[in-house]
């Protein structure tokens, strides 16, 4: 399992990385591995706001459909529309090409409360 050192993590297997004033969001390598081949993603709209832990989109793989949650409150600034046509990127490169949305956090300090890469690795091992 790959873990991206610059990102922070949620218990729901999502990552969040700082990029200037914004945050980038995606699913972890472990999540894509568990889902197996992803065939579809339903993205939120730019401008939509979500509270912490709210469902922001849905991914479908050949064996399951899963809700994705935004771990910290924020407003969507950019969505990765190319994923609609090439959802397989979520499997092949979940931390870079497979980013899902960029958002503005309601309180950027919330990011510090997410799991560190080490904490996340421990969590996955325990599972």
């Amino acid at each position: 399992m790959k873990v991206e050192p610059n990102a922070r993590y949620s218990k729901e297997h999502e990552w969040v990385r700082k990029e200037g004033d914004l945050f980038v969001y995606g699913i972890t390598d472990h999540a894509q591995d568990q889902l197996s081949d992803i065939v579809y993603i339903e993205l939120p709209n730019v401008g939509e706001s979500f509270s912490a832990g709210e469902i922001i989109c849905v991914v479908e793989s050949v064996k399951a459909a899963a809700d994705l949650y935004l771990p910290i409150a924020g407003e969507i600034v950019e969505i990765h529309e190319a994923l609609i046509d090439t959802p397989e990127v979520l499997n092949s490169d979940p931390y870079e090409e497979g980013w899902i949305v960029k958002f503005k956090a309601a309180d950027p300090a919330d990011w510090d409360n997410l799991l560190s890469p080490q904490d996340y690795e421990n969590l996955v091992e325990e599972e």
Binding site: V39, Y40, E42, V58, E60, S61, A64, A65, D67
Partner: protein, 449 residues
């Protein structure tokens, strides 16, 4: 041997758990007089006697073949070619449960795929599901889908009053748990202009019927644009027989979801069911579409095959977030529709539609000439039209029945302001003689006035 696995001790324990002392206390809510009625059954009869009695009872029934039928209003007396019951009745197809497993059901799956493909062509839409129970449930599913497409941000459904009243009733029965507001049809005089005015940012969809319940064709110019400009979907309830060739199919005037009663496609009247819920949508909405969907694929050796596809929308995978709680289809009737469409072909279906249209217009023209009767058709119509009668429709229908005619639908039942108005339906099965007989009989009723 009655198979009741629990012991006396088990039963006692269960009764104690729910706080009663004896099994018979479970029936306390049934009035005592009805609890253990004495059945006054006649003495056992022989098979010969039973068959004789049943035959005499069956003679009291009348079927459409006994009358000249002018009753439609959602269920139509179309011709069912003999090939359909004879093929659909084969043991390979005639099962109570539709088998979807690809390894054993290629025939059924291919038939559904063909049904979907032909209906897509007829409606002018891109995707068609494997079908629902009937036209009314298809319409209710379309409303739910529209709300789903908006991710539950839009919860208003605007419905035209010229949609079949039973469809609107089904919609309201189907949706109470969804916190959805349904309106638009409270005032029966409301038309497209007023309906467009009701659309707003909370509107998930506008539902119209075309041809309407009264048989008229809507002026659909600009309708889809008006609906889409406020971010809602256009749902069209249609009669699938009208679409091919004769009139523009809903897909061509911008419908996002098309639903229909598929009964005219070779299903027969069947005393009111089973019928067939046709459901079609735009490709971009397929992930939100309810119901089963059959797709064409290839196996590991490159051979063509058919499988259920996009099942992640469905309840067995997505649980409470599924697009619908329908995990089945109306398999046998969809199969019959596929057979009907394949058997009739493009030109056959078109000639059915043309016969319906021309015979209905001949009937309307003749009825309109009668004293006391007038045809109320402000817009072009297909095979149904409204007749203003000189007396209550129930009385007229009673007289018609005596002359071997099953009269039209009494509109006053659902639309109190439509006093003495009869909805008359004409299909390819109505002969010139039948129509002339109807006109003569109506004429003699009118002249008695």
């Amino acid at each position: 041997m009655p198979y009741i696995p629990n012991t006396k001790a088990n039963q006692k324990e269960m009764l104690a758990a729910i706080g009663i002392s004896a099994m018979k206390d479970l029936f306390n809510d049934v009035p005592e007089a009805y609890r253990y009625p004495e059945l006054k059954l006649p003495k056992a009869a022989s098979e010969i006697e039973i068959l004789d009695e049943l035959y005499r009872i069956a003679l009291k029934n009348s079927t459409t073949g006994c009358f000249a039928t002018f009753l439609g209003a959602g269920a139509y007396n179309h011709f069912v070619p003999s090939v359909i019951p004879s093929l659909a009745g084969r043991g390979e197809f005639l099962t109570a449960y539709t088998p979807y497993q690809p390894e054993v059901s290629q025939g059924t799956l291919q038939a559904i795929f063909e049904y979907q493909s032909m209906v897509a062509e007829l409606t002018g839409m891109e995707v068609v599901n494997a079908s629902h129970y009937d036209g009314a449930t298809s319409m209710a599913e379309a409303a739910i889908m529209s709300v789903n497409v908006s991710n539950y941000k839009r919860r208003k459904i605007v419905v035209s009053p010229s949609i079949h009243p039973q469809y609107r009733e089904t919609l309201r029965t189907y949706l109470p748990g969804k916190q959805v507001e349904i309106g638009g049809d409270e005032d029966h005089a409301v038309g497209l202009v007023e309906l467009k005015g009701m659309l707003d940012g909370d509107t998930a969809c506008l539902i119209v019927q075309n041809p309407t319940f009264f048989g008229e064709l809507l002026d659909v110019d600009g309708l889809a644009d008006a609906v889409h400009s406020c971010g809602a979907l256009l749902v069209v309830v249609t009669n699938p027989i009208t679409s091919l060739g004769l009139f523009k199919p809903p897909g061509e005037y911008g419908a996002d979801i098309v639903v229909a009663e598929g009964q005219p496609f070779g299903a027969g009247l069947n005393f009111g069911g089973p019928y067939l819920g046709v459901f079609a949508a735009r490709q971009k909405l397929v992930r939100k579409m309810p119901g089963r969907l059959v797709g064409e694929t290839t196996d590991t050796e490159g051979r063509r095959g058919y499988v259920l596809t996009l099942s992640t929308r469905e309840q067995h995978i997505r649980r409470e977030k599924a697009t619908s709680n329908i995990c089945t289809n109306q398999g046998l009737i969809a199969l019959m529709a596929a057979m009907y469409l394949a058997y009739m072909g493009k030109s056959g279906l078109r000639s059915v539609a043309e016969m319906c249209y021309h015979k209905a217009h001949y009937a309307a023209g003749e009825i309109d000439k009668l004293d006391g009767f007038s045809v109320l058709a402000e817009r072009p119509f297909f095979n149904e039209f409204v007749v203003q009668c000189p007396q209550p429709v129930a009385e007229i229908n009673a007289s018609l029945l005596e002359s071997g005619i099953l009269g039209g639908y009494d509109l006053q039942k659902d639309y109190p302001d439509r006093k003495n108005q009869m909805l008359v339906s004409v299909t390819e099965l109505n002969t010139r003689q039948q129509i002339d007989h109807l006109v003569d009989t109506l004429g003699s009723i009118g002249s008695v006035q």
